[in-house]
Amino acid sequence: MYVAVKGGEAAILATHELVAEARRGDPAIPEISVAQIREQQALACARVMNEGSLYDSDLAALALKQSQGDVIEAAFLMRAYRTTLPRFGSSVPLDTATMSIRRRVSATYKDLPGGQVLGPTYDYTHRLFDFALMDSENVRVGLDPTISGREARPSTTHPSSGDARIKPEHHAAPLDAHMPRVPDILGAEGLMEAEEAPEGDPRPFDLTRDPVSFPADRDVRLQAMARGDEGFLLGLGYSVQRGFGGSHPFVGEVRVGEVAVELVPEELGFAVDLGDLTLTECQMVNQFQGSKDIAPQFTRGYGLVFGHAERKAMSMSLVDRALKARDFGEAADYPAQQDEFVLYHSDNVEAAGFVEHLKLPHYVDFQGELELIRRIRRERDERLAGEQDSKEPDAMPEAAE
């Protein structure tokens, strides 16, 4: 039974003031602006957009500012805001092959059509602190001292001998406008599991509108993972690699860039281009031994997320492949292969709500438990005392002392 507890209004108002003060920190330090967070903490904003399931970098930055950088609290703010908005419709399905590429790498093909483009990545940094970022403002130095701009030659110097690392952009030709997705290259040879839209290209299930039931279809699983917690999916993806789900994954491709999103409003009847979304897509390629019905081939896992969020996209694609176990007649022995386990626990706003509600008043429930424990103990003591009496009538405890 739920019993409401009243009181504490003044204390709650006071805590609102205190949290505002804590959020501001030392007033002698300049306040951070939402635009600064949006521009300079873009990867954090991407995570908030994904887990908040709402693409809007300004709002993500505001959420981070308001929550003092607590990503899950920020995602919660996004989710709450989203519920106040009307929905105008669903977009035309995105075509990631038309992405304006900022980064694209493959671990399976060296010479892929369109080329490997490293883009902005921390992969090749040395993970050494760049203290220049700490002491001065407005220094545009490299990511760490080993490639810091302070030590680089002036940008006017013409690079020698075609070293791609220092090629200034005005010498580079723009990338191809249309870059084929890597698994489609293997697909052309028939070695890759086909990804085709089912008959009639059905409208996808929307877990924000309808209750999920199990076994969950792929569209439900992908939607749940796209809004799921990065850490949870990372852990599950890692578990698959470590042997809790036996897979041999290769990154077919990771790509980051801008994709136009289109809507066909009912009153216009034609597609309107709404602008560009920054997205990260991962195609994970997995070996498959084959079964009675299916010839040995490569299978795939798919990840697609808002913003530049490679780790999330990769984790999602690993778990997506693991969740296909049933489709391929594989045993589903491990957590990452079980849709109910993955989908029910991936949402960090739900998870945080249920875990954190434990700190709210449970006084009455606890009183009940307390009464129960006291009664059981009393009964146990009485029972034990009764047994003592009947077994050893001569040896009373008092006498022993």
């Binding site: 723009p174 990804e195 997506d320």
Partner: protein, 150 residues
Amino acid sequence: MNDKTPGSTEKTPRQIWMATLARASRSEIETLLGAPPAHEVLKAPETGTVMVEGRAGGAGRRFNLGETTVTRCVVRLSNGRMGFSYALGRDHAKARLAALVDAQLQDEAEGSALHGGIARLAEHQTAARQRASRKAATTKVDFFTLVRGA
């Protein structure tokens, strides 16, 4: 390949300018429009969401990726011409201005100053995209294979 994918179909001039307006800033559209013409607001600027759909594996089954904020507005000029704006984000003033530009562009002849202005805006956007693409291209890898065990 699916012929219905965006980009593969031929766009109408109106679709192209609406795309340009969606990517333009409020101040760019304000400058482009000049003094706003007399008009009636049919659908007041309103922020809502659009559910973004992806496809499994890039080309397979549709799924819901998540929502994005979108702001729309519909206006009508005194001659009855309607202008629409649908764009990412939450800028109400921009939505109204863009809807007015859409209405006027439909009314004006191809060589008008406004058509010239929107074409220049589109060129700037293309140039910015190309610049970003060239920056990315500087990080393109030129592999050379090391022969091992020779």
